[in-house]
Symmetry: C2
C-alpha cells in the first residue's frame, strides 16, 4: 500500500494518553505502510517515539479541553495539540490529522488551518462549511451515512445541499455504494412534511443532488432504506445521540432480562460472545471516528469517550481516506468548486 503519515493527537479524548498510544500501536501493527506523527507534550511523545520506528514526535505543550470555548481556544492556544496537528496537515508534514478531542475546537482549528474548499456563488467566493460525517450500521446489514453529525448547528439551504453532495461521495468512496439514495431528514417521509427550512432544502436538493430520494425520518438512520441521511448539525447530533441512548437503554434492559432469572443467566453464558460483538458493532468503536468533509485535507474526529479499538480504527480510517484520495473526489463531486 501507499505510505501514509497520520498525525494523531495523544491528548485527545477523556482517557489517559496511554489509551491513545495503545491505539496507535495497534494501528501500526495492522498497517505496515503507516507512520504516525504523535502530537502532544514533549515528555510523552518523545518517549513514545523512542520505542517505535514508525512513530515521530511533534511537540505541543498546550491542550484544548472540553470546557474551552472552541473559537477562543483555537485563537489563543496556538501551541495546543489540536492547532499544531492541523498545521502539520496544512504544511504537508502529515497527510491527515486524527483527534478524539473536542469537536468544536477541532472543527474550528481545521477550518482555520487545513481550510475548506471555496465555491462560487452569485459572483463571490464562499467557503464550504466542514461537515462531520460517519456511517452507522443499518438493519439491512449495510451502512448509512449521516451528515452533518454536529459541526454546524445553524446552516443555510446551500450548506445542506453541499452536505448531501459530500455525503453521497463519501458513501461511494468509503462505503462502496455505487448509487447512493440520499434522504433529507424530516419529521415525516411525505414530500409535504418538514419545517420551513427543510421544505426549501427539499426543492434545491431535487435539482442539485444526484440520487436524491426525498424526505426520510429518524428511523431511517438505521432502516437501510437510505444510504445517506443529510441534515444540519443540530438535528444530526440529536438523531445520532438519540440512537446511542436507545442502544444503551436496550442493552441495559436486556441485561435485566438475562440476569433476572436462572434461565436468563444460562442464556447469557450461551450468547456471551455474540452479545460482546454486537456491543462493539453498535458502539461506534468499529468506525473509530467521523470525518470533516469539505476541507483541503483529511481530518477525523473520534468520540471523546474513546477506547484503544476506536483510536486504532480512527487512525486506520484516516490513512484509508488519504489513500482513496477522498479530498479530491469530494471536490470533483461538487459544482463551482475553486481549486
Amino acid at each position: 500500500m501507499d505510505k501514509v503519515r497520520v498525525c494523531v493527537d495523544v491528548m485527545g479524548g477523556d482517557e489517559e494518553p496511554s489509551v491513545v498510544m495503545a491505539g496507535i500501536e495497534a494501528a501500526l501493527a495492522a498497517d505496515a505502510d503507516l507512520t504516525v506523527v504523535a502530537v502532544g507534550p514533549q515528555d510523552i511523545v518523545e518517549a513514545f517515539a523512542k520505542k517505535h520506528e514508525r512513530v515521530e514526535p511533534l511537540v505541543a505543550p498546550d491542550v484544548i479541553t472540553m470546557e474551552d470555548d472552541p473559537i477562543q481556544a483555537v485563537m489563543h492556544k496556538r501551541k495546543s495539540s489540536v492547532v499544531i496537528g492541523c498545521r502539520a496537515v496544512k504544511k504537508g508534514a502529515a497527510d491527515a490529522f486524527f483527534s478524539a478531542g473536542a469537536t468544536g475546537a477541532i472543527t474550528a482549528a481545521a477550518t482555520a488551518y487545513v481550510t475548506p474548499f471555496k465555491y462560487e456563488s452569485e459572483g463571490t467566493r464562499r467557503p464550504i462549511r466542514p461537515c462531520l460525517t460517519s456511517a452507522l450500521p443499518n438493519r439491512q446489514g449495510g451502512l448509512t451515512v449521516l451528515c452533518d453529525m454536529g459541526a454546524n448547528p445553524d446552516v443555510e439551504v446551500e450548506d445542506l445541499v453541499r452536505f448531501a453532495q459530500m455525503g453521497a461521495t463519501y458513501a461511494r468512496v468509503v462505503c462502496g455504494i455505487s448509487n447512493p439514495r440520499v434522504g433529507l431528514l424530516s419529521n415525516g417521509s411525505e414530500d409535504t412534511k418538514g419545517s420551513h427550512f427543510t421544505k426549501e432544502c427539499f426543492l434545491h436538493m431535487g435539482k442539485s443532488v444526484p440520487g436524491f430520494a426525498g424526505n426520510c425520518e429518524g428511523t431511517d438512520l438505521t432502516s437501510g432504506n437510505f444510504d445517506v441521511v443529510a441534515t444540519d448539525g443540530f438535528a444530526g447530533n440529536v438523531a445520532l445521540k438519540a440512537t446511542e441512548g436507545a442502544a444503551k437503554l436496550l442493552m441495559s434492559e436486556l441485561k435485566g432480562v438475562l440476569m433476572g432469572s436462572l434461565g436468563g443467566k444460562i442464556a447469557a453464558l450461551l450468547v456471551k460472545d455474540g452479545l460482546k460483538e454486537l456491543k462493539v458493532k453498535l458502539s461506534g468503536d468499529a468506525k473509530g471516528g467521523a470525518i470533516l468533509l469539505g476541507l483541503r485535507g483529511v481530518v477525523l474526529i473520534g468520540h471523546g469517550a474513546t477506547s484503544v479499538e476506536a483510536i486504532k480504527n480512527g487512525t486506520l480510517a484516516s490513512a484509508y481516506a488519504v489513500r482513496e484520495g477522498l479530498v479530491d473526489k469530494l471536490a470533483s463531486s461538487m459544482e463551482n468548486i475553486v481549486r
Copy 2:
C-alpha cells in the same frame, strides 16, 4: 371512579376498524366507569354499539387519510371521523377524543374545534400551540416526558417555553414526578451549546420554567437524567423516531445473535417471555398514544401502526387525563392564560 365518556375514532390507524374495536372492548373490560363514543361509518359503529351497553355510535361518513393535506382535509372533510370526534369534545358530547389517525389532521381539527387556551402577550391574545407529548421509558426505570413530539415543526421561543411548562405539569400529574428536571434538547449538554434558536430559548427558560436544568442531548431521551425534554416538533420527532429505529435495529441484531447458533437458539427459548415483555415495553404500545397539551379538552393521538393493546391503553389514558383534570392543571401552571 368518575364516569368518563371517551370518543374513539374507529377509522384511525393503518389497521382494520376491527383492531380498534377490539382495543375499545379491552378498555371497557378494564374500566367499568368508561363509556366509549365510537365515531366512524354508520354500519360499523351502529353494529358495534348494538353489541355493547357502554358503546354509543357517532356517525361520520368520511375519513381523512395519511395522504390528505391536514389543513385542507379539516376544512373540507367536515363529516370525517376526526372532525366529528373533535366537535363532540367541543360540544360536551364526549370528555375526550382519541384517534390513531394522521397526526397533522388531528392537530389541525383539535386546534379548530377543541381550541387551544389563549395567553396575553404584549397586549394581544395569542393561542397556545398544541404540543404533542408522551413519556418514554428510561434507563433508570422511570419515564422521561418528550414535548413536542411532532405537532409543530416551526416554533418561536415563546412556544418552546410553553411546551416546557406544560411538559413539566404533565410529568407531575401523569407520571407522578414531584419536581421535574426540565432539559432543553440541544447538540451538547454545556450551556454554550445549541443553535441560535435554542440559545435564545435557553435564556428564557432559565427565567420562566421552574425546574429548568439546562441543555440536554439526544441520549437524555432515555438516560433518566432529565424528567422532561423540551424541543420543537421537528427535532422532537427526529429524536423519537431515531430512538424507535435504534430499538428495531437492536432487536433485529439480537435475533441474529440468538438464531445464529444452537446455543443461541437454546438461549432464546430460555428468555422468550422476558424478551417479549421488553418488546412491548419499548414499542410504545404500553402508552397507547400521545396527548395534545394546551387545548381546552383532552385529545390523544395513537401511533398509526397501531395494535389492540395500544388502542386499549390510549383509550384508558384519555379517561385518566379527564379524571385527573389535566387540562385545568395545565392552564393553572402557566402565566397569563386567558380562561
